[in-house]
Symmetry: C3
């Protein structure tokens, strides 16, 4: 029974292939991406040419966000600039350069300042967050984290041509130099000098590249 069903499915799919179902789906997908990209651009303060948002993108606070030319965000990515939280007022800015490619499931969130230079490439499940739920004093830790005041240890500055590996996390108050490679699964908690490769939790210099 199941075997016959599989054979029937295979036959129908083969016919669908002949009818160019894949190409048709691809064309629809391209059109959907075009519409989606225009839709989100309407909400963003400044977007350059050829800025692409793949499906299931989530945007908040676009009026605080500026994006250069030729930038793409992979599926299921999140880009949020929070101006208020539980009545607290914040003043966030996210500035993204040109020729940046964010991977799928990226999570970029600001209550302070995130500045990203040209030529960034990120893997999947990358977190870039300049904020956290509260400071680490005793009275804060006695309250539920979701009710703590939003706190930013400092702004994030990422240089040119940086590559951030899968599942890496960039935390508040760090400056990452030009040409840096952040290894997979690392957590960046301190400044990284240019042209270095870092890895681990917290991320440490593995290799320093010289001319």
């Amino acid at each position: 029974m199941k075997v016959i069903l599989r054979k029937a499915i295979k036959l129908i799919l083969s016919v669908a292939r002949l009818l160019c179902l894949k190409k048709i789906i691809n064309q629809f997908d391209k059109l959907a991406t075009l519409i989606r990209s225009e839709w989100y651009s309407l909400d963003i303060a400044k977007t350059g040419n050829n800025v692409i948002f793949k499906s299931s993108f989530y945007l908040y606070g676009g009026d605080r966000i500026s994006i250069g030319n030729n930038v793409s965000f992979g599926k299921n990515s999140v880009l949020t600039a929070w101006t208020s939280y539980n009545g607290q007022k914040m003043n966030p800015h996210i500035t993204i350069g040109s020729d940046c490619r964010f991977g799928e499931y990226n999570h970029i969130t600001s209550t302070n300042n995130i500045t990203i230079g040209d030529g960034l490439l990120t893997g999947r499940w990358v977190t870039i967050s300049d904020n956290s739920h509260g400071e680490s004093d005793y009275s804060s830790l006695k309250t539920p984290p979701a009710e703590r005041e939003m706190y930013s240890k400092g702004e994030i500055v990422i240089g040119k041509n940086v590559w951030i590996g899968d599942k890496a996390t960039i935390l508040a108050g760090v400056t990452i130099g030009d040409g840096v490679i952040v290894g997979a699964n690392s957590v960046v908690t301190k400044d990284i000098p240019p042209y270095t490769i870092v890895g681990g939790i917290p991320a440490k210099v593995i290799k320093r590249i010289t001319v």
Copy 2:
């Protein structure tokens, strides 16, 4: 050609905005969340007031799960209590307190006991698992992991007002004290005293907060 298409799309989207398409979508989304939440609640032993399951939630073994008031699960989260695996019988319980907020893509899975206190906040891609595929003896490692007996090193107890960062993993047999902050990407393998900040693999105390 593409430029004209983009302009046409932009015009149509602007009109859609005027027609409040976003608000209408938001209302449908709220209704869908309400229906989804009631749907899953039907399968859960005890759910308090205002328990919200965002889209693409996956539930298994709800009759072993109890949830307090004002709890939300982010999109794509998984909550599973396994009573059997390959014929093996297990006796899991998951008890979640009130005012807990689970982030997106959380993965909470039990074959033993997971107890979570009030006021938890988690980031994205957090794993809380009290079980593993088999023990680490030689004969186990000779068989495919999926065929090994499920094994739990011990139950997980999470205190009040705990904050677990993006991509952190909480493993079996640990007790996490009140007010703990678990850093991003960490793996918790041992007990954590209250009011401490931990990070790394395995997670170690970074800071101990006193009054």
Copy 3:
């Protein structure tokens, strides 16, 4: 108002349950998985019996991929073999044994060679990548990573009955022995002898199992 709405929803859902809505959805889901699996199999050089691709699977370069019997890929997984990148030609092969179970959101990508033995089990958000964007010399780091030549430090060989935990990353040029357990969130950068448990960034031997 909201209370009445919730009650109405609950009533409708209860009736839907009586009408076996869940069972009907399950049956549709099974059929969809069957169709999806045949659809992707058409593009893969060699697929054994009972190879299952769960929803939102992404495949590229299937003619370079060979899969054994009884293999499943969890939802949102990605399996890619890249034969060209920005005009650069590559010669990738991915060979997967039998009885392997890949978790959800797995990311397996090759420009060189990935060979996986029988009986693998992986968790969620696992990355297996034998390639990277460019070498780590100074002139490479001066160009945007997405424009660097694809580079593979070496092929990946994974033995039999290996278990890879949630969020672990396996990088290029490593051989993982039979019966290895890779801990959650680890990054494997060096060879791992058989029957060992490893963890951390970079992954180090935690325990060596003997007969």
